[in-house]
Amino acid sequence: MSAILQLQHLKKYYATQKAVDDISFEIGAGNIFGLLGPNGAGKTTLLRMITGIIYPDEGDIIFDGKPFNPMDDTIKIGYMPEERGLYKKMKIGEQALYLAQLKGLSRSEALSKIRFWFKKLEMESWWNKKVEDLSKGMSQKLQFVTTVLHEPKLIILDEPFSGLDPVNANLIKDEIYRLAQQGSTVVFSTHRMEQVEEICNHIVLVNLGKKILDGKVQDIKQQFKQHRFNIAFDSTPEQLTHPSFEVLQQKNNEYTLNIHAGFKSNDVLQFFITQHVNVVAFNEILPSLNDIFIRLVESTHSAARSFQTVE
């Protein structure tokens, strides 16, 4: 899989903090990519650099094989910022048309695409309404449509589901899957871990302006596993002590075990099989991304950024 976006040693320093401090990673084409991090970690700054809103102080961005050129490449990028914004007094149809034309679509092209999307998401009756008449969730939907309307190769969504009810969230989620299947790359920025786990196949975690984790979701879970297993029996086992493990938790006949280094899961199974109990379930507990996130962020001793002086 070729990379659609490569970031090489990006740096952006503001007066009081190093917002992005030497971050490099790449995003493969067709991926759904999660950019994670606590508040103030530098996610928005990073996304603004990728969308060409601001320029990095140092480092390079390679987009689609060539150095990123904001002037020509904006048509290939759709960006939905965290703080949603639309002209309140403007009619919805005109607004979508205006934003699409600003992206570089011709009027007729833009009109046909808006009609397609409005029909698809059941928004046709909105055309002559104003944004101030819409609920928060409705304007969210509109914002999503204006972001993906021009069929960008790279779609960047900053907290796309905030404010959406489950039905509409699913609607948008399905569209995101469909867009990824059609070859678009989706970059997600969020701190809602359950969504990331569900949707993304690759993540990068940043904190304090630095990258602290980068990889496929499955690989990361393997990497952070703590050798914990769930085991369940049909009756209570007579013996529960063995050098290969220790019991962390017990609930009826279910146990959570931690297997010690140097032993394998089979060692544990063997120990129980020789007793007069039947093992009815045995599975490994992989850490949730939420756990990994909290563990990593807390280990850097800073959930919130403090101000520092940048020379």
Binding site: A15, R48, T51, G52, I53, I54, Y55, D57, P70, M71, T74, I77, Y79, M80, P81, E83, R84, G85, L86, Y87, K88, K89, M90, Y98, L99, Q101, L102, K103, G104, S106, R107, Q143, T146
Partner: protein, 443 residues
């Protein structure tokens, strides 16, 4: 399609299509017109009403029975009792009466008294005083046995004729008209800078607070967004002013038709203090013809041409600064007030210089003000109304224009830098030092 044009078109259409635009554009001139029509109506009405009776026991006004002086009509009566006149005052038939006693010495220093109802306005008092004194003066001169010609020569006020170096006649009326035109156009630019400058600022603040700015700058460079906004609103201003000027001129021309008896006095409406001065000088020199002559000496194509140039230049110069301030402030509109101060100061300063420059277009402060780009749009209009080269030498005009173009390029460059950073900054109001830093951040 060009993106700046797209933005400008949206800014233009979204404002012009608003109902408030139609209301202010069409109703405002109608209101102004109605206001002046009312003033004129009332001033005319009171002017007709002043009737002063003179009971001439001293027989010094034997040769007159009724004398019209300005707005005031003097009736010289002989056989009327004071009680009768008191009654007439109560019935509002006359405004008051003057009793000249038998032993009154015309060449003396006696004061006469005017008896009237309690309510005579200050201006009317003045008028009566002046006109009655004129009447007495005439009688005094006649008492000295001067001939009619001698009296005329004494009363002649036109003893000085002002001429420029080139030998052109520089009449009071022309100076008055130049004053009026200069003041009016300078004032107009002053208003334009404020109205449309704040409109640009509010537009930018709205975009920033709605957070739409971030969506747009991901498709368009911030500079284009700013320039699109400035051009769009500038076009709104141009359209609005053209409609206003056409309406006001059209209605002013209608005025004499509505008040035909006033045609003489009102064809030069006191729209502005400057025009009032022109009207005053018209009175002194006796006639509308003089003013018309004054108007014809004014080079209107030149004035209109420079007006449009300084309107555009001044607007572009200040609009980008207003945009920069709009981009720097956050939710609290109060913040805008303090940041605006350094921008409004030079505009107000320019206005002050302008009031000096209309009177004395070649004073050093006027020359400085008309060169300095931050004040030149307003001050130069005051000088140019006096014509080239009487008001301003050609080379000064050209230098001022060049400086203005340079000035607006510089402010736009500076403002674009601040705007680019400010539009994406949320949180507390930036200090001047921070904004200055933004202007010089690389990239």
């Amino acid at each position: 399609m060009n993106k700046t044009f797209l933005i400008a078109r949206r800014e233009f259409l979204s404002r012009v299509q608003k109902k408030t635009f139609l209301l202010t554009t069409i109703l405002l001139p109608l209101l102004i017109f109605g206001f002046y029509a009312l003033i004129i109506y009332f001033s005319v009405k009171t002017g007709d009403n002043i009737q002063i009776a003179i009971i001439d026991h001293a027989h010094i006004m034997n040769d007159i029975s009724v004398k019209q002086k300005g707005d005031i009509q003097f009736h010289v009566l002989k056989d009327v009792s004071v009680i009768d006149l008191d009654k007439q005052i109560q019935q509002k038939k006359i405004t008051g009466y003057i009793l000249i006693p038998e032993q009154y010495n015309i060449m003396g220093f006696d004061t006469l008294s005017l008896k009237s109802d309690k309510s005579i306005g200050l201006l009317t008092r003045d008028k009566i005083q002046k006109n009655f004194s004129d009447l007495l003066e005439e009688k005094r001169l006649m008492a000295l046995n001067l001939s009619k010609k001698q009296i005329d020569s004494i009363q002649n006020a036109n003893t000085l004729q002002f001429t420029s170096l080139e030998g052109k006649k520089d009449s009071d009326a022309k100076a008055g008209v130049s004053y009026g035109v200069g003041y009016f156009s300078g004032f107009l630019i002053y208003i334009i800078l404020f109205i449309y400058g704040t409109m640009v600022m509010r537009g930018v603040m709205e975009e920033k607070m709605n957070r739409i700015a971030e969506v747009i700058v991901s498709s368009v460079k911030p500079f284009k967004l700013m320039m699109g906004k400035i051009t769009g609103i500038g076009a709104v201003g141009l359209v609005q002013f053209i409609i206003w000027i056409v309406l006001v001129l059209g209605l002013t021309m209608l005025l004499p038709l509505i008040f035909p008896q006033l045609a003489q006095q009102t064809s030069n409406l006191p729209m502005q203090p400057g025009a009032m001065q022109a009207a005053a000088s018209m009175k002194n020199n006796g006639g509308i013809h003089e003013v018309m002559a004054g108007l014809s000496t004014i080079n209107f194509p030149l004035i209109i041409g420079t007006f449009i140039f300084y309107f555009l230049g001044g607007y572009l110069l200040y609009a980008s600064l207003f945009a920069a301030v709009g981009s720097a402030v956050n939710e609290d509109p109060q913040d805008a007030q303090s940041l605006l101060l350094p921008i409004t100061m030079p505009i107000i300063f320019a206005m002050v210089i302008m009031t000096k420059a209309v009177n004395d277009p070649n004073s050093s402060i006027a020359v400085f003000g008309s060169m300095f780009p931050l004040t030149s749009p307003i001050v130069m209009m005051a000088r140019i109304a006096h014509g080239i080269p009487e008001g301003v030498p050609l080379w000064q005009l050209l230098v001022s224009m060049a400086l203005l173009v340079g000035g607006f390029l510089a402010t736009t460059w500076l403002a674009a830098k601040i705007y680019r950073v400010g539009i994406l900054m949320y949180g507390k109001k930036p200090t001047w030092k921070e904004m200055w830093k933004w202007a010089f951040i690389k990239n």
